[in-house]
Symmetry: C2
Subunit: 382 residues, 2 copies
Amino acid sequence: MPMSVRKFSIPEILFGRGSMQYVGTCARRLGAEKVFFVSDPGLKKAGWVDKVFELLETEKLSWVYYSNVVANPRDHQVQEGAQLYLDEGCDVVVSLGGGSPMDAAKGIALVASNGGKVHQYEGANRIHRPLPPMVFIPSTAGSGSDVSQFAIINDVQRRVKMSIISRTLVPNISIIDPNILTTKTKSLIIAAAIDAIAHAAESYVSKIASPFTEVHSLKSIDIIIKVLPAALETRGIDALEQLSVASTSAGMAFSNASLGIDHALAHSLGGMLDVVHGLIHPVLLPHVLRFNLPACPDKVADIGEIVLGKRYSSDEKTALAGIEKLEEFSHQLNVSTRLRDIITDRASLPQVCRMAVNDSCLLTNPRPATWEEMLQICEDAW
Amino acid sequence: MPMSVRKFSIPEILFGRGSMQYVGTCARRLGAEKVFFVSDPGLKKAGWVDKVFELLETEKLSWVYYSNVVANPRDHQVQEGAQLYLDEGCDVVVSLGGGSPMDAAKGIALVASNGGKVHQYEGANRIHRPLPPMVFIPSTAGSGSDVSQFAIINDVQRRVKMSIISRTLVPNISIIDPNILTTKTKSLIIAAAIDAIAHAAESYVSKIASPFTEVHSLKSIDIIIKVLPAALETRGIDALEQLSVASTSAGMAFSNASLGIDHALAHSLGGMLDVVHGLIHPVLLPHVLRFNLPACPDKVADIGEIVLGKRYSSDEKTALAGIEKLEEFSHQLNVSTRLRDIITDRASLPQVCRMAVNDSCLLTNPRPATWEEMLQICEDAW
């Protein structure tokens, strides 16, 4: 089958230790006078938020700080932030955080410029007016929100995590400073790295993967498998920097190739049951890969080859051995690999799956899936 | 040594067979009313220029067509084009071509918006005002100008190819349509592919390479070595498409990691003696890699491993065997590998090298070089 037309779009990237120092000049270059700055209390405590205040002030920028953001960020937090952005007459959005503050910041930029409620932009390509310039500094090596065209916002009333996907959600500049990872807990590093593996694996088998995304997907998995154990043990900056490379690579890949069943279910579980996003993938991803195997045995085998460091004569054998190795990897990290360990409400699974079939991520999964098939995946993972 | 801060910036990319059809909508999206369209007589003859006219008209865009461009495009062609752009009140630049029309188009966009003479922007980061939006369609798989922050313009009086390097020279959108390659001659496909290999190899060993450029450099070499012979023999679209992927990957790499001695000399030879750019690399690159070897044996060995499909116990051995294999590859393509075959004026070499030491590309070469050392490289290649 000929490859049809593919898009590849990423922000301008500043990468490296100490690169955070450029946040003020970057915002200034994008026309900032008054910055709307989104982060969270944990990063305030660790001193990084104050550091950004300083850097903005050095550039003689004024700012408004917004930190009413939680994991799985809420629609009402976005609306409140957007109102504050408008009331204060801000002109550029800066965010420092993991996926939650960054996605909230995107939602705020969206509503402030396009009006209405964040809900009306759910799905792909629903944003028609330009957003204010955005400069993002990821504080974890996982979400990829700083390079992606995705924002995931929790619709509290419907208990759904909405996927909002648009090229206009790609920040203008992503400043990736691995120094920030030195203040992260072990469990947060693991959850983020596992999210990156899931981004890489799902984007690699996506129906709209391209040579430009595939190379990043495989590179990302390769790095994480090799470096994560050392990063956790030594907390050395070299290893942490590699995790940042891997997360960014996976972000470039999934932003442009999108995702699949694992993320469709993760969004649904996050929306209905408020499960922490990074914990879901070790549970679901292996089962999703097994489900997808018949649709793309060569590609699941490519992932297997990266994980195993070798390839068997049949794609299926390589793929299955690779999936097992991924499961082992999770065990070694001491993360739960059974769904029953992270949710208690088994009875809600049919509803979770009925929601998940409507998630935009399902559109690019290499094998179509009904909600019953997704339920079977959840049951297998129970 | 810790990796210091690195930038990575590329245009939005549309890739695939038939992607050219989006040129009008892309220009429109960037605010076009009247397009300044730069291409060349060869592409007019092949029918591609008329195709672009049609596509612009479908979007109800008016246009001015400028085709006074030659290989190693001249400063006066840029000035003339910029005047025409201003006289006609254009607002977006579209270019279809190999490196020459695309670099000329960048020069035109630069002078039309920043004023003065193109010469005053020679070097890195000398452009201070924004350029008009640019949509580029590469017609060869080699130059990478459609994704890069480089424009190379010939200063006729000084007989120097000026390297102009600025993030603002990255086009907004690159539309890469491998169908265009089907009308190219064998020798042009070779010259372009070899240019891409040189971009990939020089960017890989560059002092400012990053994990984001390195992955593209190696991927590019890998593809070209594997696919070029088949592409030349069958002219099949699958193989040509792979060459487009390789060229784009190499473009992303060198745009952000820059180049080295081979390109510094190639610019000087092109400026003084008007040598066709693509012919220079098979002659010089192996000698440049041997010269650079002591500075980065591991990296030259990585290139060797890609070319050879294996690695020996010592980096040096792998590197040298890889360089030899690259030379063999050139022989098989029947391209000249001796400098005497492409220039006659040996006496001008000292002057060529004295010019080349001032080329910006030299700044990122992994091993410093005097003009005498560069002359020795040329003599070795004679």
